[in-house]
Amino acid sequence: MAGGVRAAVWILLVTALMVQVVLSVQLHGLRPAIEEMPPPPSPMAMKAVALGDDQFLYRVVTQWLEDVGDGGGRLRPLRDFDYDRVVAWLKLTDDLDPRSDAVFQLGSTYYGALTDPSTAARKVARLVDYFERAGMADPAARWQWLSWAATRNQQLVKDPGLARRTAMDLLSLRTSPTAPSWLPLLAIPLLRVSGDNAEAEELISDPDMIERRRIAIEKLKQNEGRP
């Protein structure tokens, strides 16, 4: 390459780079769009996307559910999310790996942490409903999410119908050999939420429930190293 041509190439290259810098400065004000949560695909389409490796897709989608709504340094508040859609995604993702708790960790500590006074009760009720059903499907493995659903309903959601259904489900676990023995105790405050105070009082004085409470307190003391 002749000296003149080489110099011209250098000049053009530096000029092009400078133009790029100027364009970047001009475009600085345009912020990237926030990624929206789309409606979930069908279970079959979801599995096809995994290309045979469900575990990889499970981890990627769980991570995506943690990040979606965050873009270009901006955050979409949880109160603006469609929680029916959130639950549909959580359920679809859980089907990829029913042995993992990551979806429930995400649902409880992230989406379930909504505190907005005008929307929290209504939106978290969707999660409570899903957690309760998932917990009842396998109480031995997922009792902690059943417990989360019960306490979240008692403290935040306060939905009488949902509270009644959860209370009845928890009481049905009294005969379960695999669920923790203290779990049915959570039914009592839920019955108060549903307005069934007489039933709650009856359960408080029920000998079986008293024994369960005693065992639970004993275990708590043991765990805390107290006599």
């Binding site: 069908s42 079959m44 599995k47 096809a48 290309l51 045979g52 490796d53 469900d54 575990q55 990889f56 499970y58 981890r59 990627v60 769980t62 991570q63 943690e66 790996d97 042995r99 993992s100 708790d101 990551a102 960790q105 995400l106 500590t109 992230y110």
Partner: protein, 258 residues
């Protein structure tokens, strides 16, 4: 035997010259670093996130690396007329194909070894699941080598070969799902004749495609060996696929191109 040794030596030398090993090792290290980052960002079950991500990405690195290298390597052999020179020696076309397959396979198996080692060192996951995953990756690499060799020797262009082999690989991982969609009637076309024909075509195509979706399960890395199939099923699948692809390549080399 001389032809085989010479071919193996030639492939290893050109792979060294193309810095294939360094490129794949660098990509595997980058995958390990990226997966560690993803694991650190996860809300829970960080180790499982890292293992599943690293496993899938390392498999993708191997697939793309092998397909690209073999496609362009064969193309260069054609352009420099090395294939014609090799075939002027007392070497039959089947031996030529088998020698190349042997050489590329040896290389692929060597390059696949660090994947499991990196997962073991990076995540301390020295489990039977890792052993099964590593064995599965090596079997998948053998199928990929046979597939790439078939595409590279059958198609005139390296670019077309890369695209065809990648497309075929993705199809092999999707075939079972297309079949399930067809069987469950979750996707239907308006015209019944077209619908039935499409279903029949899917049935036939998915029956012919190797079930590569069963290979390299991230579940094995996270929970240990499991599933309704084991390494012997995968070995059988790999042996059949490699045999079919090599026979097709031998037929093509003999009948069409050289």
């Amino acid at each position: 035997m001389n032809a085989l040794a010479a071919t193996v030596r030639y492939v290893l030398l050109t792979a060294y010259r193309d810095r294939l090993a360094i490129a794949i090792l660098a990509a595997q290290l980058a995958v390990l670093a990226g997966s560690e980052l993803m694991a650190a960002a996860a809300l829970s079950e960080n180790l499982a996130v890292g293992l599943a991500t690293a496993g899938a990405m390392m498999r993708a690195v191997m697939a793309l690396g092998l397909i690209t290298f073999i496609s362009f390597h064969v193309r260069r052999m054609e352009e420099t007329r090395e294939i014609e020179v090799i075939l002027t020696r007392p070497i039959s076309r089947p031996v030529f194909v088998l020698a190349n397959f042997g050489a590329y396979s040896g290389l692929a198996l060597l390059l696949a070894m660090p994947a499991g080692l990196l997962l073991g060192v990076g995540y301390g996951a020295w489990t039977s699941g890792l052993v099964e995953w590593q064995a599965s990756l090596m079997l998948e690499c053998l199928v990929l080598v046979a597939l790439s060799l078939f595409c590279a020797l059958s198609l005139g262009s390296a670019t077309v070969s890369v695209m065809a082999a990648t497309g075929f690989y993705v199809m092999c991982r999707l075939g079972a799902y297309f079949r399930a969609i067809s069987e469950q009637h979750t996707g239907m076309l308006d015209n019944p004749v077209v619908d039935t024909t499409a279903r029949l075509a899917i049935e036939v195509v998915s029956a012919v495609l190797p079930r590569l979706d069963l290979f390299g399960q991230g579940n094995w890395l996270v929970y240990g060996p499991g599933g309704a199939w084991g390494i012997w099923t995968l070995t059988g699948q790999a042996a059949i696929s490699v045999a079919v692809l090599l026979l097709a390549t031998i037929r093509d080399v003999g009948a069409r191109r050289f």
